[in-house]
């Protein structure tokens, strides 16, 4: 298992490097430079600006700048936010837990909906339940998160007044009351994101279960006299989950994209809304770092999927 883990980790490093090359190329190709603000500022004399450029190494060749940028990123020196006046890594670390909380809960919700519905639909293919589930899944992933978010606000906040539509990180309450308020304000973002993902996961689960349900070993399990529930849960589902893990991992970029939109709608103070704020404030160091963090998260979750894959499918050799 340890060698398998290390091998997966070693495979993740080239993809991170590739992503960093893509990011840096985009930044290097872009017009303008981080000191354009100073160029328009008459209080900064040209020779001071030139000295600053030299001290930051902006006149060096592009390869040197890439290596320096990369080593800074690896060492956690992510620069200084122009807008917030604090270090970028502190800023992101403040915001990251909220994003992970919202994304994680919504994934759990999505799987809690998709697994039972998908399995039940696949054990009765083309039944009324299957057709309704299939149509609803289509509706679900055709509804963009920004529209469902607005609909939820319209129905549950404006009309029914059940939930607050602005997410606050500073709730003036303690103990159970704090947890209750957190739950109340998190429920809409999590539901919006979770249901959107549940729609596509349901289709994955259904087709994966349909693929294994007719295999001989399932017939054997039935012939042994196992109960239908045990056959479905222990024999069918475990094998059907293997392709689902891969597909869920492939969805990760879309999940973080959806999280960005939901955070923006519900004003959740995560790294997604930090990215939008930074773009509106022209805060380049923050923008670059947040994009890089998103990439790292995607690679990290792909790594987790690989490990899960090895655990679910013993045929994958760990040696």
């Amino acid at each position: 298992m340890a060698t398998y883990l290390i091998r997966r980790l070693l495979i993740a490093i080239p993809s991170l490097l590739g992503i960093s090359v893509i990011l840096f190329t985009i930044l290097a190709l872009a017009p303008g430079d981080p000191f354009s603000e100073m160029a328009t500022n008459p209080n900064v004399p040209p020779e001071v600006r030139e000295a600053l450029r030299a001290s930051f190494g902006l006149n060096d060749p592009v390869m040197v700048r890439y290596l320096r940028w990369l080593s800074n990123m690896v060492q956690g020196d992510w620069g200084f936010s122009f807008a917030s006046r604090i270090n970028v890594d502190d800023l992101i670390l403040q915001r990251l837990p909220t994003t992970l909380f919202v994304v994680g809960s919504s994934q759990i919700l999505a799987l809690c909906v998709a697994l039972p519905v998908g399995i039940y639909a696949a054990t009765r293919p083309y039944s009324v339940f299957d057709q309704i589930a299939n149509t609803l899944a289509f509706v679900g992933f055709s509804l963009p998160t920004f529209f469902t978010g607005l609909l939820f606000i319209l129905v549950f906040s404006v009309t029914l007044d059940w939930f607050p539509f602005v997410y606050r990180s500073d709730i003036a309450a303690t103990g159970w009351r704090w947890y209750w308020e957190m739950f109340r304000q998190a429920i809409m973002p999590i539901t919006v994101l979770g249901l959107f993902q549940a729609a596509s996961y349901t289709r994955y689960v259904r087709s994966a279960v349909l693929d294994v349900i007719r295999l001989d070993y399932v017939t054997t399990a039935r012939a042994k006299g196992l109960s239908e529930g045990r056959v479905t849960l222990r024999h069918i589902t475990r094998n059907a989950l293997i392709p689902v893990v891969t597909l869920v991992a492939l969805q990760m970029p879309a999940v973080f994209g959806g999280a960005l939109v939901t955070e923006q709608i519900f004003r959740v103070p995560g790294i997604g809304s930090l990215l939008i704020d930074a773009i509106l404030a022209n805060d380049t160091p923050v923008i670059m770092s947040v994009t890089f963090v998103f990439s790292c998260l995607v690679v990290f979750f792909n790594l987790i999927a690989d490990i899960l894959y090895g655990w679910l499918d013993p045929r994958i050799s760990f040696s």
């Binding site: 985009i26 963009p144 923006q264 773009i279 923008i287 990439s295």
Partner: protein
């Protein structure tokens, strides 16, 4: 078998010959199978009406999209404004028809970009027997693990001003959005095309073409590609809907098209702060996006059924 009693009419050789005489072209057969998918047929009608609406609509409803009327702010649907007005008294129906043209055009153009790039990369990887395949597939997997929305935002933030100078405000943003969305969405097509090429290139008809001296290009584009098109058509249909969602998302975040170009996502962005007083302002553009995306997805599903020869309908 000769002289024996036939068990059923369908086993009658004469009847079999009669059926095979009715020649059915592949296109007609696909259409017959597509029609069996009722939701896909209904979606074709809905999408057709939407497309017709945004193309013909502005002539039938000749109201300027930027006609400001402060006496008619945030009004609900009425005869003079069928879909109501926004906070400047501008007619939402006229704005939606104008914006719909752009949203649909972005979807189609980005699909074309994604399909061309995907087919080229997939075909190159699928035909190569040396190093090109693993390298191209590594790049494809790398692109698949890029977080697309943050990257889209980053690129648009960095390059918007430059392209505005070259293509003008509207054209610059259009070109940028199409290239970036298309350039970040070619991977599914490339994987499909590669998989098809890997199996098709070993088939006898390709070997026959090779034996007759067909060049590699001719084998690829004349013999293999036409046989690989079915899944590509399905994938690129779905690309249209994801490109429309991507563009609407950008505009919804306020970072896509500028405010004077009312794409559907931009209308939602403007409407979201008036949700309590003027819900119609957000509901109509949102419903338009939803209907378009849903019908394109259903059409893709219908095409998948119709173009898969193994599926019995």
């Amino acid at each position: 078998m000769a002289g024996s009693t036939l068990a059923s009419p369908s086993a009658d050789p004469a009847a079999g010959a009669a059926v095979s005489q009715v020649s059915v072209s592949p296109g007609r057969e696909t259409w017959r199978r597509f029609r069996r998918h009722r939701l896909a047929m209904a979606s074709t009608v809905v999408l057709g009406l939407l497309v017709l609406g945004v193309i013909v609509g502005p002539w039938l409803w000749p109201v300027a999209i930027n006609e400001i009327d402060f006496s008619a702010q945030l009004q609900g649907p009425s005869w003079s404004h069928p879909l109501g007005t926004d906070d400047l008294g501008q007619d939402i129906l006229a704005r939606m028809m104008y914006g719909g043209r752009i949203s649909l055009a972005v979807g189609l153009a980005a699909m074309v970009v994604a399909t061309i790039v995907g087919v080229l990369i997939g075909a190159l990887a699928g035909m190569s027997r040396k190093y090109a395949d693993p390298i191209l597939m590594w790049v494809t997997d790398l692109f698949l693990s890029l977080p697309q929305l943050p990257l889209l935002l980053l690129i648009i933030y960095l390059f918007r001003e430059q392209l505005k100078a070259i293509f003008g405000v509207e054209g610059g943003v259009f070109v940028l959005i199409v290239i970036v969305i298309g350039g970040l969405r070619w991977m599914p097509v490339a994987r499909l095309v590669r998989a098809q090429f890997l199996s098709l290139r070993e088939k006898e008809f390709v070997e026959a073409a090779r034996a007759q001296g067909a060049t590699k290009m001719r084998q690829m584009f004349r013999h293999i590609l036409p046989n690989a098109l079915g899944p590509v058509i399905v994938a690129s249909t779905i690309e249209v809907s994801s490109a429309i969602i991507a563009e609407s998302t950008l505009s919804f975040l306020g970072l896509g098209f500028p405010p004077d170009i009312p794409t559907w996502g931009r209308l939602l962005f403007d409407a979201k702060d008036q949700l309590d007083t003027a819900p119609h302002w957000a509901l109509f553009p949102g419903a338009a996006i939803f209907l378009t995306v849903l019908s394109i997805n259903f059409i893709g599903d219908g095409l998948r059924d119709a173009l898969d020869p193994r599926r019995v309908i």
